[in-house]
């Protein structure tokens, strides 16, 4: 298919662009296969380049022959284009509509994007599972890397290599897989070096209404327990929801069959509920006419902050079981691809200082989200302005990022990266020139040949020029477990995302710059002191030598 067929009017002059807190720009609007471009053709004004894929929805209005298109983007920005001429406006609107809703993955921009930078380190190769297994091997010999899923037949959403207990053979894994939703049998998610406890993740067991059991599954997870030790199963669903799942063939681990495990139920919402929550939150944030009471009541009704609190609380609980109780943990919800990953990845940020570095955080996302099979393509197909019938969209990953931001706020010196990295990841998860977040699982990505045909986000982020923007000047590495407060008073609205386009950040940005300046000046002084000391010491030795000679 040619994009040209979809572009009814490629160019309109005299278009006026309105953006909040920015001067209006008048210029020429151009449509290309992947971009909407507005240029004033003057040197000093910024051009607007918007990926069609970033457009969540559009609205059009007419006053006389002047048409207006309101473009609502997946990064939550809303812009307005005034287009002279009714026909032009209609053409542009329908072209945008068609181009922003292309179904085929292979037509997405990452397949057409050619980087203007030299790829020094190929991000596609940066986080190989073998590498993290080598790290694990240096700490314990209880685990092995299994190739049971090498053709993705045991579990389509898992990667080909999986870390499992050494004593469990592939045959048992296959049997356990048949007892778990989507074949997602329990695998290692995290090894806590401090006390050797582990966190595993899986999907729900398929006990059904008649209480099916699977010896291999029981053996598999028991193999992770030390003699005489107990473990905790954290089911991210409430007991009621888990009970209901039985009717559809799902369920939860029966105490009788798993006597060494204690089950804890939490109440993380299902993904379709989360999508609704996001839509309501963004609606509340965008309405400038709210009185104080209405704002608070809308914020409450969106339930977003409640979701943040619940997810963070569950992650704290998992981390607590491991670090404080010295117990191993198995986390699952229903499919094991959403709330499960939120909990396992956040718990690692709390427990493992390595995850708080840029590199470690990237590895965490690669491991616990991309390779673990979070269906990014489905979840991030639409964002807060989707007005169609929701399919499988849900801000699962955005909620995870929000929780990370909350921890970052409470421990501002413990992270190597700053808020910008989190916002950038949010943007790229929804729309990107890079292939990293395309597809739903490793198998799909392989079929799409992403590593050959697209550029990895990490190839770009890890360039020194880009990294600078994401570095936290306050960072001072520490090896501690960081326990965030989950009291409602401690959890804030993530303004950097949700009010990003609705406020002027000039004052905040300048203050941030000032802080960076203070920190850098201090470092400079420290260096100066060191070099002067060296110089002095040298002179003193020389002086002494001269004196000795005399």
């Amino acid at each position: 298919m040619e994009f040209a067929e979809l572009i009814k009017t490629p160019r309109v002059d005299g278009v006026v662009l309105h953006r909040p807190f920015m001067p209006t720009v008048e210029g020429t609007l151009c449509l290309t296969g992947h971009h909407l471009i507005l240029s004033s053709r003057q040197d000093n004004t910024e051009e607007l380049w918007l990926l069609h894929a970033n457009i969540d929805s559009t609205e059009k209005r007419f006053v006389g022959s002047l048409g207006t298109i309101i473009v609502k983007c997946k990064d939550l920005r809303v812009i307005q284009l005034d287009i002279p001429g009714m026909e032009e406006c209609l053409n542009i609107a329908s072209s945008i509509e068609a181009l922003s809703t292309l179904d085929s993955v292979s037509l997405m921009y990452p397949f057409f994007y050619r980087p203007l930078f030299e790829v020094i380190e190929d991000g596609w190769q940066s986080f190989a599972p073998e590498e993290s297994f080598r790290d694990l091997e240096s700490m314990t010999d209880e685990w092995r890397l299994s190739e049971v899923n090498k053709d993705f037949s045991v579990c389509p959403s898992y990667p080909s290599l999986l870390t499992v207990p050494k004593d469990i053979d592939d045959e048992s894994l296959c049997k356990a897989a048949s007892f778990r939703h989507g074949g997602r049998f329990p695998v290692l998610s995290y090894y806590h070096k401090k006390n050797g406890m582990v966190m595993m993740r899986a999907a729900q067991p398929l006990t059904g209404t008649n209480g099916r059991r699977c010896k291999e599954d029981e053996k598999l997870i028991n193999a992770t327990l030390c003699a005489g030790k107990r473990g905790y199963i954290i089911d991210t669903r409430t007991i009621a929801v888990a009970q209901q799942a039985k009717a559809r063939g799902g369920g939860f681990e029966q105490e009788a069959n798993y006597p060494q495990w204690r089950r804890i139920h939490k109440a993380i919402e299902r993904s379709n509920v989360l999508q609704d929550s996001l839509i309501k939150l963004v609606e509340a944030c965008n309405d400038q006419s709210h009185s104080m009471d209405r704002w608070l009541s809308k914020l409450e009704a969106s339930n977003w902050q409640s979701n943040v609190k619940e997810i963070l609380t569950t992650a704290c609980l998992a981390a607590q079981c491991i670090d404080r109780e010295g117990a191993s943990v198995l986390v699952h919800g229903t499919e094991g691809t959403d709330s499960t990953l939120q909990v396992t990845s956040l718990a690692q940020i709390i427990l493992d200082p390595a995850c708080r570095t840029i590199r470690g955080f990237e590895a965490l996302i690669e491991r616990e989200w991309l390779q673990a099979g979070h269906p990014f393509h489905q979840r991030c197909a639409q964002s807060a302005y989707s007005n169609g019938k929701p399919r499988s969209e849900a801000p699962v990953f955005l909620l995870f990022l929000d929780c990370v931001w909350q921890i970052l706020r409470q421990f501002p010196c413990s992270f190597q990266f700053n808020e910008n990295l989190l916002i950038m990841l949010f943007e790229h998860a929804y729309t990107s020139q890079f292939g990293t977040f395309l597809g739903n699982c490793v198998a799909e990505r392989g079929k799409l040949q992403l590593s050959q045909k697209t550029v990895s986000l990490w190839s770009w982020v890890n360039r020194p020029q880009e990294l600078e923007r994401f570095l936290n000047p306050l960072y001072e590495p520490n090896n501690l477990v960081i326990w965030p407060s989950v009291a409602p008073q401690s959890l804030l609205l993530w303004e950097g995302v949700f009010l990003r386009w609705n406020r002027s950040t000039k004052c905040l940005d300048e203050a941030y710059q000032e802080m960076v300046h203070i920190i850098e000046y201090n470092k400079e002084l420290q260096n100066k002191v060191n070099s002067l000391r060296r110089q002095l010491a040298q002179l003193e030795t020389e002086d002494k030598m001269v004196a000795d000679l005399k």
Binding site: T313, Q410, C413, S485, Q489
Partner: protein, 609 residues
Amino acid sequence: MEHIRTPKVEQVKLLDRFSNKSVTGTLHLTATHLIFVESNSTSAQEIWILHHHIASVEKLSLTTSGCPLLIQCRNFRLVHFVIPRERDCHDIYSSLLRLLRPVSYDELYAFSYNPKQNDQEREEGWQLIDLAAEFERMGVPCDQWQLTDVNREYKVCKTYPRDLYVPITASKPIIVGSSKFRSKGRFPVLTYFYQEKKAAVCRCSQPLSGFSARCLEDEHMLQAISKANHNSRYIYVMDTRPKLNALANRAAGKGYENEDNYSNIRFQFVGIENIHVMRGSLQKLLEVVGTRSLSMTDYLVGLENSGWLRHIKAIMDAAIFLAKAVTVEGASVLVHCSDGWDRTAQVCALGSLLMDPYYRTIKGFMVLIEKDWISFGHKFADRCDQLDPDPKEVSPIFTQFLECVWQLTEQFPQAFEFSEWFLIQIHEHVHSCQFGNFLGNSQRQREDLQLKERTYSLWAHLLSEKQNYLNPLFSPSVAESHPVLEPSTQAYHFKFWRNMYNQYDRSMHPRQSILKHVLTLQESKRELEGTVQALKTKLQKFGVSTSPLKPQTPPRERSLPPRPHTGGERTVEGSSATENGYGELMGSFGSKNEPGVVTLEFGVARMTC
């Protein structure tokens, strides 16, 4: 002290407000403080509670472990003791009841507090703030405004200060006539002069207009204010009350200005609620944020139902209206409410702070409080419940003002010389009665109490610790380029001030503080600069010429007194920043690995926060 029956009780348990944790220690009762000393010798936490800070003491019914005593403080601390023997508990309880209700001013802490200063130092402390100099700084007296001696003996208005500034065309008979037509004699006087446009901010109380009464002198007075400003043909009269309240006052012979009787006024209601509504609102807010295992829904619904942020926004909206009228339109504004000492003080002070960068410095903020709050007779004694309590007079009016300033610091992180620690510390001392500044209800009463001779000034104390209150990001150049602050009043910009209302609930605070971190850097900067200089001097002895240190951007000039060393010293509750919870951060983070967040009981997890 005859009121103390049991000065010491051992084996007292202190329960944490939000978790099931408790520590055991000894409770001491002194003439001024209730002190809890933890028995555990390694951590040995001490809590000092000033009697004046205690708002209420409650003895709960006996439990198996002892007799619970619940103490609620005005600085939002809440402590829950369990005393093993009922008798001891009762003794402490009844002693406290007596101690926290002083019957005369002489019993207040300020009259016994002695910071080891001599008389001269004390006097200098009181001379730090000079309001005459402040009016001079604004450019008053001038060709349109003069100092009047009409209230020199407090004859015209008992609750005003002696020195008042009025338009030159307002003669004594006009002033006296106008004062008779205003509640409590509080006639219109100048509080801030915006030199650039010659526009004035004046304040007064409501007119005694009833349904139809008028007063020619009062009308003349407003006209005089109007004429003193050539830039505008009208003045705004801001009635800061909701219209309904003002209407109700008419029935009592009070009310508001009738636009028909006053030439060239633009009358405006603002809609800030009265002291009773504010008191109730804070109470609701504190109930919500003091709840154990508070859910997000209950928190947000509770925040909304308390109305607290709505009231804060109303005050801010009024101040912005005032600042705009003066700076943009160049019009003078007369602000009043009922008596002109609560809402009027809030709006005038906050409006001036928006217009004038000076009030956003440490010294300037002290001047502002001294002028619009202390000298113009905000009834601190009544509102803060210092003496002879009338619960209906207590109200967090001044706290709201401090919060509005905090909300502004959140929007303009570089506009203020001070950090929120300064605001919290002032709040602490408004209630501590440790210094003389806020005692009493009016200037006249303060003179009668001879506070300047018998007590110390808070401002001198705060300035001596200035280091602790600085905002490291403050930029005077930003103030020069944008002297007038134009805050956004979108609802989402108003946030709950956790560091004030949950200031003692340490588990809720960020475990690492950016503010503290940057302050430490600022301090090490000075040390490093000194080291660099010293090293250079040494190098020069070897005949090495060193280039002067040139940072990429020169550091801003600021006069910084050396930081007082308080390390290791036991500090009295409410007397230092470090004692207040907002100082604790890195230390406990490093040493304490307690989760404090989640507990597991009987294998069933329960979140306790």
